[in-house]
């Protein structure tokens, strides 16, 4: 193409020149994204391996042998921190299970059974995106208090499941539509019930959608601060995000290097999920599960 390419590219460049310019722009952009994306994670990691006194005295880039230490990780044995991490894990698992079960059943019903008002249901479903934790949290505080769900992890799981619903149900709805109904029909001919065909045919085929829905539920539960701050005011049941903030404000001595150590521990699960399960994440969004 090069010999005959006329100067019709952007800025009057030839097509080859245009390719070169774009190649360079792409390389520069990639470098910027990598530096800005990786830098905070790198900095958190290196600080967590550096002597805590050095961290607040000077800016060090690499934990060299003299200042390298694993002592900061003692914070992972601190009873309060252990409790926060345990509560966060319980809430995340509870939310994932609730979201997957509820959205699978609803998705199946929406795509396979005919009942009225489906379109309005879709509208109501999308309303879920408007449940802002701060707007909902203030009144929910009193409601949970009067029915005894305040200070309980179940109360938080319910709240987080509700805000995960729009994405999860929409995803299942569209995904189950892609599974041929004929497979279920042949099972019914052999005498299987609708529940049997749902359990043995539809659910196993929904694996990618289940993983995507679980990942998003995990992200919401792992990330939550506002709901937990309002709905779990006591030490015993609170999760990591509000817990660590209260600990920092209350304790006389909590070195930043230790905070970075526990932060890294909280970052590892999402980091591993982002690397090993990114195809599921993208698949989830591709269905345009808005």
């Amino acid at each position: 193409m090069s010999s005959e390419s006329k100067k019709r590219g952007i800025f009057g460049l030839s097509y080859d020149g245009e390719d070169r310019v774009f190649g360079a722009l792409k390389a520069v952009s990639t470098a910027i994204i990598v530096v800005i994306g990786v830098f905070p994670i790198y900095w958190m990691t290196q600080v967590s391996f550096t002597d805590y006194q050095t961290v607040i005295d000077t800016v060090t880039v690499v934990p060299t042998p003299g200042i390298f230490t694993l002592d900061n990780y003692v914070i992972l044995l601190d009873p309060a921190i252990v409790r926060y991490l345990f509560n966060t894990t319980v809430v995340a698992i509870g939310t994932i299970i609730t979201v997957v079960v509820v959205s699978l059943v609803a998705g199946y019903g929406l795509s396979r059974l005919s009942f009225p008002q489906k379109e309005n249901f879709a509208r109501v479903l999308l309303m879920g995106y408007l449940f802002s934790p701060i707007v909902i949290g203030v009144p929910l505080y009193q409601i949970w208090r009067s029915i005894g769900l305040l200070k309980t992890r179940i109360g938080l799981i319910l709240a987080l499941s509700a805000i995960s619903m729009p994405f999860a149900v929409w995803l299942m709805w569209k995904y189950i539509q892609t599974i041929p109904e004929a497979m279920e029909e042949s099972a019914w001919v052999d005498g299987a019930s609708r529940w049997r065909s749902f359990r043995d045919i539809v659910v196993p085929q929904c694996r990618p959608a289940i993983i995507a829905a679980a990942l998003f539920a995990f992200a919401i539960a792992w990330n939550d601060f506002t709901f937990a701050e309002i709905l779990l005011p006591t030490e015993e049941t609170t999760t990591f995000a509000p817990g660590i903030l209260r600990t920092i404000n209350q304790r006389q001595f909590l070195p930043d290097a230790q905070i970075m150590a526990v932060s890294l521990a909280m970052t590892l699960p999402p980091l591993l999920f982002a690397y090993f399960m990114q195809s599921y994440l993208l698949k989830g969004f591709q269905i345009r599960a808005l």
Binding site: D57, V105, M127, L130, L140, R194, I244, F273, F285
Partner: protein
């Protein structure tokens, strides 16, 4: 459809006279499948909003069980609150600034990630991680890096670039707090736009671009005529959602500045939270929540105008 198939009735089953009931079994089961979702929505959305409206009409202390009916008095108080209008204005600045910045950065990242050939998986993972990292971690790392005691960004901005005082944390400076909040938040939330756009970009068949190349289109023309029309819809939705989310953002602001210094970063969510826990005016806080909900409702109307859900459901792939 499924209704034509015979449901097997085992010997031990209770006989239900489906034929005589006013609605078919399928309809009943179908409604049954969505009931858990509706129950959750009722508990977490409808009930709190109704409760907020009810509580906003009363004088209620946060710790006080006494409710006194005062009608719409709380709404007058909200409007007369000098903090209300300034918080609303700051919230709008925060929302517009964040959304525009996130749109520009997010779109740029999506276009780069889509075209990259080597290390795509790793780079995508890096970008996705930013979105999956809990907000509290983003805040803690930002606070460390902006700490006057050994913070790297503090030193970079203070000593090298001379942007702010070397001795003080820039998040405590009036002229930097809001800008930094927008920048720090965007590190995480720009990826939301990237993920949405990237999924759409990957769905564009490459034969479109090959055909355009054959007829001699340049890159700008390809972007304008192939890429942009395909991602326009999703960008619109993502921007609307981001605006709504940023307007109601509480966590990252509370973690980084608690609304300070002074009231430089106090937006409506922060004001509502303070009204509950610092002024113990629970009724007034609920009035604020209702006002914020009305803003959300306007967002919702725009959202449905931009994106028709029933249209989406019909398109079976």
């Amino acid at each position: 459809m499924a209704g034509e198939t015979q449901e097997p009735t085992g010997p031990g089953r209770v006989h239900i006279p489906w034929q005589q009931l006013p609605i078919s079994r399928e309809t009943l089961v179908g409604i049954g499948t969505v009931i858990p979702v509706l129950v959750l929505y009722f508990l977490i959305a409808l009930l709190p909003i109704a409760f907020a409206i009810y509580a906003s009409l009363h004088e209620v202390g946060t710790m006080n069980p006494e409710w006194t009916w005062i009608g719409i008095e709380n709404y007058y108080r909200v409007m007369e609150l000098s903090d209300f209008w300034s918080s609303l204005w700051r919230g709008i600045i925060y929302m517009v600034g964040s959304t525009l910045f996130q749109l520009a950065v997010g779109l740029w990242m999506a276009l780069v990630l889509n075209r990259i050939t080597r290390g795509q998986k790793l780079l995508t993972a890096v970008v996705f991680t930013a979105y999956l990292i809990p907000t509290i971690i983003v805040s803690l790392v930002a606070l460390r890096m902006l700490d006057p005691a050994g913070g790297v960004l503090q030193a970079l901005g203070g000593n090298v670039l001379g942007l702010w005082d070397v001795k003080a944390a820039p998040l405590g400076a009036r002229d930097w707090a809001m800008k930094l909040l927008i920048l720090i938040g965007s590190w995480k939330f720009a990826v939301f736009i990237t993920i949405f756009t990237l999924a759409q970009l990957r769905a564009i068949p490459s034969r479109f671009y090959e055909a355009a190349k054959v007829v001699g289109a340049n890159r700008y023309q390809m972007f304008r005529d192939i890429t942009l029309p395909r991602i326009m819809g999703v960008i619109l939705v993502a921007v609307l959602l981001r605006s709504i989310f940023m307007f109601n953002k509480f966590d990252i602001i509370w973690q980084l500045t608690q609304g300070g210094p002074g009231d430089a970063t106090t937006t409506l969510p922060i004001l509502a939270y303070r009204t509950v826990y610092n002024q113990f005016a629970y009724g007034l806080a609920n009035a604020l929540a209702v006002v914020m909900f009305l803003f959300l409702a306007v967002g919702a109307v725009l959202y449905f105008l931009a994106f028709n859900p029933s249209e989406e459901v019909e398109t079976t792939t």
